[in-house]
């Protein structure tokens, strides 16, 4: 631990020195953890959550940067689920601790926290000076989920918005919030919330909508239960009309992680990564990449960014550190494989 800290100090010091030499270079790092990839590791039921930093050139990998910067006495809490950003702040949502830890996204120094108004918080999005964070509330009730509304200046939660359906992933488009309402095999709706009047509209999309993204006025929603084939539903944002669906081959079970990049939809099903045209009617089981992973936790995190495809693999028993695989977006070739922390569940880009 002490040696790690020394190394960290050396690296941090050299980065600072390096940054002093530059002029007005727009790539000049804004902190030790700029120009790189952040991997969120959720840890287990006894803790062990961490954030791994990987430099863009993949040459520097540093585990548990949050503890390295903030010390052993400050913790992210149990099960950090996701991170959202506002300016130079990163908001790390820990669902097991009803906590959002606010750090400088480049230095990872803790600058604040939100510890009230949250009950099993999951994902967040920022709009108009406020963060909207989904909360599962009691696991046993699918109808008590809510959106916490957090003032980003004071870091306090205002009146929550009840969703009356499950609330998981959340995006914002034109002042409206789109919330996926699926989890494993349950839930059927995408909830649309008008931030100006907090009115909630439910759109029925099918079993377990688990990820969603907007592109050119259309919302793409990936639906799939853990034991059945999935589909992608297209919704026109202007009038919430269902435009159509892309069905999946029956062998593509437990599809997750919809991500739209460079005009294509990427998603995972088990150990395989798929790349499809958004307007296909039927997605055949012809993966772009077969990771070959035998872990049940392959695809626990996934992202496509700047020419690379990132996929996280939790250890099969979830009692050891996981790793990530990086592939070329161009040809699907494996670029690198990097060990990270316990239960890697998401990628974020600085």
């Amino acid at each position: 631990m002490k040696i790690n800290k020394c190394i960290f100090a050396l690296i941090a010091g050299s980065v600072l020195l390096a940054s002093c030499n530059g002029d007005d270079d727009s790539n000049a790092p804004l902190g030790s953890y700029d120009n790189g990839i952040l991997v969120l590791n959720e840890g287990g039921s006894t803790g062990g959550a961490s954030v791994t930093y990987i430099s863009d050139d993949l040459q520097t990998v540093q585990n548990d940067i949050f503890t390295a910067v903030n010390g052993d006495d400050v913790t992210l809490g149990l099960f950090p689920q996701s991170i959202f950003f506002s300016g130079d702040r990163a908001f790390i949502i820990s669902n097991g601790s009803n906590r959002i830890t606010v750090v400088n996204r480049y230095t990872f120094e803790k600058v604040g926290e939100v510890t009230s108004g949250l009950t099993v918080p999951r994902y967040g999005v920022v709009y108009n000076g406020k963060a909207y964070v989904t909360n599962s509330n009691l696991f046993t009730s699918p109808t008590d989920d809510f959106i916490a509304v957090i003032d980003l200046n004071t870091l306090t939660a205002g009146t929550p918005i009840p969703v009356n359906n499950q609330a998981e992933r959340i995006i914002e488009e034109n002042g409206k919030l789109y919330v996926s309402g699926g989890f494993y095999g349950s839930g059927n709706v995408v909830s649309v919330i008008n931030t100006s009047n907090q009115q909630v509209t439910a759109i029925n999309v099918g079993t377990a909508p688990n990820s969603l993204e907007e592109k050119d006025g259309i919302l793409y929603v990936l639906c799939s239960s853990w034991n059945g084939p999935g589909k992608i539903v297209r919704i026109r944002l202007s009038d919430n009309a269902l435009l159509g669906e892309m069905a999946f081959a029956e062998t593509m079970v437990n599809a997750q992680n919809l991500d739209i990049e460079d005009g294509f939809i990427y998603f995972t099903a088990g150990p395989k990564i798929y790349k499809v045209d958004p307007f296909l009617a039927l997605a055949a089981d012809t993966p772009l990449i077969d990771t070959g992973s035998e872990s049940s936790y392959i695809g626990y995190g996934f992202a496509v960014n700047d020419g690379r495809i990132y996929i996280a693999e939790g250890a099969d028993d979830f009692v050891s550190d996981g790793k990530i695989f990086i592939y070329s977006e161009n040809n699907g070739a494996l670029v690198d494989e990097i060990p990270v922390g316990l239960g890697p569940n998401g990628f974020y880009f600085n």
Partner: protein, 611 residues
């Protein structure tokens, strides 16, 4: 050497009654609830913890075994959450807890939570490492812990009142009534334990939040002598407890558990010239509630009612040969938030045999078969020999096949249970050496064990999570136990020590199982002089892995913990005793689970009245 010198040098000590002959030894054998433990454990070593040892340890069975045996315990800090105990690198579900001869592991999850057993409720607790015998049923793979209370015939009346107050507002109260006549005997204990348990973590700005607990109980052991050859016994206990689950960070959702257990056992014993016949009927009730959020009703709960009928016939074929046949039937009916309504019936038959060929050479053997519709049950067997070539040395050899049956959770959990599970089963052998020199006994035991069909819950393709018989484990190791008593004039010294070396590997990965220390050692020293007594307890626990790939970065460091106490008796016919105990005297930082520190130095005061 004067007492003062001894004290100043060693810091050590006793209880005047510390090794006073425990009541049970003088007892007529028929009164003992767990007859097989005495009759058929000749080829294994047993540690017996009696009333005085129990009194020195904080209320829970977890704390007792941590300091007095090679059993390894993990819990979420002091007295918090679930305490899992394991022997020889096995799991908590491979550890049987036996109450007056009846296995009381939960039908729901297959283990006993050692924080729900208050040691205040028993006169004697015995610890037996290894499978060895077939009679304790499911879970007796790594070893078994035996809880007993024994009524004594003969005119007597003794009342004991004890109160303990300690750091973190920890309070323990116990009233014990022990009375009897030639015909009738009762041993009744009422207790209440509670603690705010809000200690500061050593060298940290954090503290143990939401760790408070309380439990109360009544335990009764009674016997009625119908005639010289016929006895009726009743054992009963009720436990009611609530434990909050400590938080990792201050904003975690606060949760708690409630447990309610009731156990009743009636036994009719008939003693003939050559036989002993026992008919037992037991009714066990277990109930738990898990509160996902303190503000709401229990979201997870289960109740299981178990009826047990048992007939046990022991026949002395000759003075040297004993044959014991046991048949029993267990019917368990469970219902709960995640296991819906299920019942299972298990019948079994066992045959035990013991032969003393000569005073130097004994052997024993047993077989047992269960019959149930719920799973395929293997034939269990055990055999052991004891050879004593010299008066100071004996060697013991024991081998057995044991098992752990699938639990209600394993079989019926939500959409995830797996009705096709097999029991976990083990093969093991051990060789023990026992040396006795005067009042010093040393036991050295080596063992080898293979466990197969270990049940593990995995995320699956046919269900979100489901249990499968997947892992195989290979374990081997050694245990050393030392007990030594010295009397020098009126000075009395007692030393107890254990050391265990345990390798327990997943056969596929060749990695040591997580939370299994390679090394564990305990040493307890007691000193007594007239009405003064003192003791020191110490524990060393080697580092443990917390990651299945044995990544050392996450290891829990080795630790040593020392407790020390003194007490003094006032009064003549009645005894008034006052005691003081310093716990974790060296202020060690330690944890048995990742991120769950134990308290630093703390203390308690005990007042005992014996009337």
């Amino acid at each position: 050497m004067t007492a003062k010198k001894l004290l100043s040098i060693c810091f050590l000590f006793l209880g005047p009654m510390l090794w006073a002959q425990q009541d049970s030894i003088a007892l007529c054998e028929v009164v003992v609830g767990d007859a097989q433990l005495r009759k058929f454990s000749d080829t294994q070593h047993i540690i017996v913890l009696n009333d005085s040892v129990l009194g020195r340890n904080q209320g829970s069975l977890a704390a007792l075994l941590q300091f007095n045996s090679s059993v390894y315990l993990k819990e979420n800090g002091f007295g918090s959450g679930v305490a899992s105990a394991s022997f020889r690198g096995t799991t908590a579900q491979q550890t049987a807890v036996v109450w007056n001869g009846i296995n009381i592991n939960s039908q729901v999850n297959g283990q006993t939570d050692f924080n729900t057993i208050a040691t205040s409720g028993y006169d004697e607790i015995s610890v037996r490492s290894g499978g060895g015998s077939v009679i304790y049923g499911s879970s007796a793979i790594g070893g078994s812990v035996h809880l007993s209370s024994e009524p004594i015939f003969g005119d007597h009346l003794r009342n004991t009142i004890e109160a303990v107050y300690g750091s973190f507002n920890t309070q323990r109260y116990r009233y014990k009534a022990n009375f009897g006549s030639d015909k009738f005997a009762v041993n009744a204990i009422v207790y209440h334990n509670r603690s705010d348990n809000d200690y500061d973590f050593p060298n940290s700005t954090r503290k143990n939040r939401n760790g408070q607990f309380y439990n109360s109980g009544i335990n009764v052991a009674s016997a009625y002598k119908i005639s010289d050859r016929n006895f009726i016994k009743y054992f009963g206990e009720v436990y009611d407890g609530e434990r909050h689950f400590p938080l990792l960070t201050s904003s975690d959702t606060k949760t708690k558990y409630r447990d309610f257990n009731a156990r009743n056992l009636v036994e009719w014993t008939n003693v003939g010239n050559r036989f002993t016949s026992r008919l037992k009927a037991a009714y066990l009730h277990e109930r738990y509630g898990y509160f996902e959020n303190l503000g709401t009703p229990a979201t997870g709960f289960a109740t299981v009612e178990t009826l047990i009928g048992k007939y046990d016939f022991a026949y002395n074929v000759s003075d040297d040969i004993l044959v014991n046949a046991i048949v029993d039937y267990t019917s368990a009916t469970g219902r709960g938030s995640d296991i819906s309504n299920h019942s299972r019936g298990i019948g079994s038959g066992a045959l035990l045999f013991r032969h003393k060929i000569s005073p130097k050479f004994h052997y024993e053997a047993g077989i047992r078969q269960e019959i149930t519709e719920n799973y395929d049950s293997p034939l269990l067997y055990s055999a052991g020999i004891r050879y004593r070539p010299f008066s100071f040395y004996s060697v013991k050899l024991n081998g057995s096949r044991n098992f752990r049956i699938p639990t209600f959770n394993d079989l019926y959990w939500g959409d995830g249970g797996n009705p096709n599970l097999k029991p976990e089963s083990s093969y093991q052998v051990e060789i023990g050496n026992e040396l006795k020199f005067g009042k010093t006994t040393i036991a050295l035991t080596g063992y080898y064990m293979k466990i197969r069909d270990m049940i593990q819950w995995l995320p699956g393709t046919t269900s979100t999570w489901f249990p499968v018989n997947v892992n195989r484990v290979e374990s081997y190791g050694a245990e050393i136990m030392l007990e030594s008593r010295q009397n020098i004039g009126r000075h009395e010294l007692l030393l107890n020590a254990t050391y265990a070396y345990a390798v327990s590997e997943n056969e596929k990965t060749q990695k040591q199982l997580i939370y299994v220390p390679f090394h564990k050692a305990t040493a307890n020293l007691s000193y007594g002089f007239r009405k003064f007594s003192a003791h020191v307890q110490s524990l060393f626990n080697g580092e443990v892995f917390t990651r299945s790939d044995n990544n050392k970065r996450y290891n829990l460091e080795a630790y040593a913990v020392v407790n020390a106490g003194i007490c003094y008796d006032f009064g003549k016919s009645d005894v008034y005793r006052i005691g003081f105990q310093l716990r974790n005297a060296l202020d060690s930082e330690y944890e048995t689970m990742e991120n769950r520190p134990y308290p630093g130095r703390h203390c308690n005061v005990t007042l005992t009245l014996q009337l």
